[in-house]
């Protein structure tokens, strides 16, 4: 069950004999971990074209020129593969969060960095569409691990919004719902995005982020409508301090 890949650490020049787009595996032994990476990357490629619901073990194997049985030498089962992809994707986003926090600018700047990085993380490696899977299909501890990371990201977003509010840069009635809005909109992108479509991932990242930030920016003077009960500071303040400490 809990099986660590125990990567045999040794590097050898691999000829990697290619024919067409088929990678020949026979020639390069060792380095199980690298192959796992390659397999995961390949899943991203497949997902860029086909649809998640129709993604089959056979598809993945074909893409790599290996047999489906062979995949089970590298992964426990299909769920495991999908789970790893999920994690890869999330880790990219968390890296964007770290990058954002490391940058010393205003909350709006940090948030911009985070969101742009997040969008790129989702679109550029093809893993984005995997977000559509429901977490129910994961093993409990996989789910737990993933949710922990996902929550880190969500809290990161909320903290930044909250920070902006406290600094008077932002104005937001409900931080949690604003966060959900932003992240939901981003998670949905893979549903309509196509690499060869009219929008580059760069353009999407920039312009959608612009829009998200506009909705937070404080308008000096006029309050557009009577402010509702302030439910904002209930779910963000503690995390705000936590995140700023990172």
């Amino acid at each position: 069950m809990a099986r660590n890949p125990a990567s045999s650490a040794r590097i050898k020049s691999s000829p990697a004999a290619r024919k067409k787009k088929v990678v020949r595996w026979n020639g390069a032994p060792g380095l199980k971990g690298q192959r796992q990476e390659a397999i995961l990357r390949s899943v991203g490629s497949v997902l860029r074209n086909s649809r998640l619901s129709s993604l089959t073990i056979q598809d993945i194997a074909s893409e790599l020129g290996m047999t489906k049985g062979n995949l089970y030498y590298y992964f426990k089962d299909k769920q495991d593969i999908l789970y790893q992809c999920h994690m890869r994707c999330m880790e990219l986003s968390l890296r964007a969060l770290q990058e954002a926090m490391a940058n010393g600018g205003l909350p709006s700047e940090k948030l911009r960095i985070l969101l742009i990085g997040h969008i790129h993380g989702i679109l550029d490696d093809g893993f984005g569409s995997i977000l559509q899977t429901d977490l129910e299909s994961f093993w409990p501890d996989q789910r737990k691990r993933y949710i922990r990371k996902r929550d880190d990201l969500e809290r990161g977003v909320r903290s930044l919004i909250e920070a902006g509010v406290l600094l008077g840069e932002f104005e937001c009635d409900n931080v949690k719902l604003a966060g959900f809005s932003i992240l939901g909109a981003i998670n949905w992108i893979p549903k309509w995005y196509h690499p060869n479509g009219p929008f580059s991932s760069d353009q999407i990242a920039e312009e959608m982020t612009d829009y998200f930030l506009r909705g937070l920016q404080r308008r000096d003077g006029v309050a557009r409508k009577a402010p509702r009960e302030r439910s904002s500071s209930k779910n963000g303040t503690d995390n705000y301090h936590r995140m700023l400490a990172t």
Copy 2:
């Protein structure tokens, strides 16, 4: 293939003998259409709790206390059921669009009505989570029919944004991406929404819509950043006139 339910129009008081939550079908003949409706509604109930990917014909049947075989008396196949749910859901949203257009207010008001109605349409009947299915699984003409409606909705949103821009009420760099953002955020709601959760569908509808509109509202005076190339009028103007004529 193209089979019209040919509803035998006759109404009779149906005892509808209920036991626990099991609806007894035997006692109420006729009105095939009504039962189809009931089945679809039941799918919504199931989806409120279980997950779409694990939704099985058996689940639907169980919920209604009928056998799975019996479902095939009312629907061609599973895809057909799912398709009908899709349509139901979309029709609710399109009704919101009509309602919005009928209301004679400013674009921002219309958009508010539309979005609030759209969110309610998605959340209140439990069909929302069905949006996660990919359209590939539909039969071509089903897909075509659905996409036509979906596009109507998308164009409706864009037209309203565009209208607001033209009237000086809104300010938007890229109408299409703003529309995608809004609709994506809404489509994603079923992923985290739970009827017994902390947010009512009312609250979600109101506050998320607030946020979406904030991001469009024009700020008098300062341009926050140098405006990019205006790609807005490419995808909205014609539809704008079309929609306003409705």
